[in-house]
């Protein structure tokens, strides 16, 4: 459908998010190589290019690609240390993995014709629940029962502590939901809006406005891609800090 070149092409607004088999058509079983597989693979390739190939010189005075790798390393390392403390640095590789994954997924998704892995709630939910369960486990292993102090606000008057405890527990369990939906929602919305504007480019009269709007949105989405990766990581650090130091 919509092959006549002119007119509105709204079909791609949502079809850009379709999970499709790479080879042929048909049932998608869990191991089928799909466009998701392809773009996940490209994330790995980009990571290797950026952090492994880029640093192969091991130069004391870094070149550009090594500077990018060191800058990324430095940002996340400093974030973990500043927010979650020095003892959180042993979890730094996990947090770096999350950051690199989300960052590259967001940026690669902005390539024309790309598939945005992080626009899928299935992906972000796995990431968020992985953080949630890991952090909760760390909290109990490190602090034992004292981890529950997180929900018992000692600085508040005794009378309202039970009420606060209920609120704290609810907010704790909502964390993975908001953590995952924030990322996926931002990605879905941005990409959908770009495609909606792009669809109007089929009408000659509004095409210039449409194209300018697409460019503007695209610039905005580049910003959002970076910010959302940063936000996802910084929240992970905050949750980790709560697990390591549960007392208020």
């Amino acid at each position: 459908m919509a092959t006549d070149g002119e007119g509105l092409h709204f079909d791609s607004v949502l079809s850009q998010f379709d999970v499709k088999p790479l080879f042929g058509a048909g049932e998608i079983s869990f191991y089928t190589p799909t466009n998701v597989t392809l773009w996940l693979f490209l994330i790995v390739v980009s990571t290797v290019a950026m952090l492994v190939v880029g640093t192969r010189g091991r130069a004391i005075v870094p070149n550009r690609s090594q500077s990018i790798a060191e800058l990324t390393y430095g940002v996340v390392h400093k974030m973990v240390e500043d927010i979650a403390g020095k003892e959180a640095l042993k979890y730094f590789p996990y947090i770096m993995t999350l950051f690199i994954f989300v960052l590259l997924a967001n940026f690669l998704g902005l390539l024309p014709m790309a598939f945005t892995v992080t626009s899928h709630i299935a992906v972000t939910a796995v990431l968020a629940f992985a953080v949630f369960f890991t952090v909760t486990a760390i909290g109990f292993i490190k602090n034992g029962v004292h981890f529950l102090d997180l929900f018992w606000v000692r600085s508040a008057p005794l009378a309202i502590r039970p009420v606060l405890a209920v609120i704290e527990v609810i907010s704790y369990f909502v964390r993975p939901v908001s953590h995952s939906i924030r990322l996926a929602g931002n990605m879905i919305a941005g990409h959908a809006v770009i495609k909606v504007f792009a669809a109007f480019a089929g009408i000659a009269a509004v095409a210039p406005v449409s194209i300018i709007a697409v460019v503007g949105m695209y610039a905005f989405e580049v910003l959002v891609a970076g910010i959302q990766a940063y936000v996802f990581t910084i929240l992970t650090c905050v949750y980790l800090k709560d697990a390591l130091h549960p007392s208020h």
């Binding site: 509105l8 709204f10 994954f101």
Partner: protein
């Protein structure tokens, strides 16, 4: 323009109709319409590949990339610290060298002053000795000269007296007197007393 917009609107209507049909079709096929994100059938596939990707990413980062970057950064830190320490050391050395130079200069200066003082004392001593020697010689010569002057004066007095006696005796003789040598000597001595003073 208006006809163009009308045209576009007609097209749009057709396409929206198409899209609706497609959505309905998709809903039949996938048994879940709307957002592809909510198509639960694709979840196992996404999660499976995601987990593999995360494991591979974690392996690449924790085994290769992060240790390498960490070692590069710490090497750089070490190099910078080493350079700073070396610079500090050189600074210390230069300070020591400056101090040694100053000390050597001061030593040389005081040595020179000592030598100057010693030389001056020596020269003074020689000078004193020479002056003393010269004084002594001058005194000796003065004494000798005085002695000779006295001798000359004495001999002059004696000669004058001799001449006076002879002249007196001759005068007395020429006047035809009889020369009494003793009386003449007496008379000459008496006259010369007070005259040769």
């Amino acid at each position: 323009m208006i006809s163009l917009l009308q045209d576009a609107a007609t097209h749009a209507a057709e396409h929206i109709q198409d899209a609706g049909d497609a959505a309905a079709h998709g809903a039949e096929a996938a048994s879940s319409g709307g957002l592809p994100q909510l198509n639960i059938d694709a979840f196992p596939n996404q999660i499976f590949w995601l987990v593999i990707t995360l494991v591979v990413l974690y392996w690449v980062l924790s085994k290769i990339a992060l240790p390498r970057i960490a070692s590069v950064i710490s090497d750089r830190q070490g190099a910078i610290t080493g350079d700073l320490m070396a610079a500090e050391e050189f600074k210390q050395k230069s300070k020591e060298a400056e101090a040694a130079y100053d000390k050597a200069l001061a030593d040389a200066r005081s040595e020179a002053q000592k030598i100057v003082a010693a030389n001056r004392a020596e020269i003074q001593k020689e000078l004193d000795a020479a002056i003393a020697h010269a004084d002594a010689e001058i005194a000796a010569r003065t004494a000798e000269s005085e002695k000779r002057i006295r001798e000359i004066r004495d001999s002059a007095t004696a000669d004058a007296r001799e001449v006076a006696r002879d002249v007196t005796a001759e005068l007395v003789r020429s006047f035809g007197g009889n020369v009494d040598q003793a009386a003449v000597d007496q008379a000459v001595d008496n006259r010369m007393k007070g005259g040769l003073q």
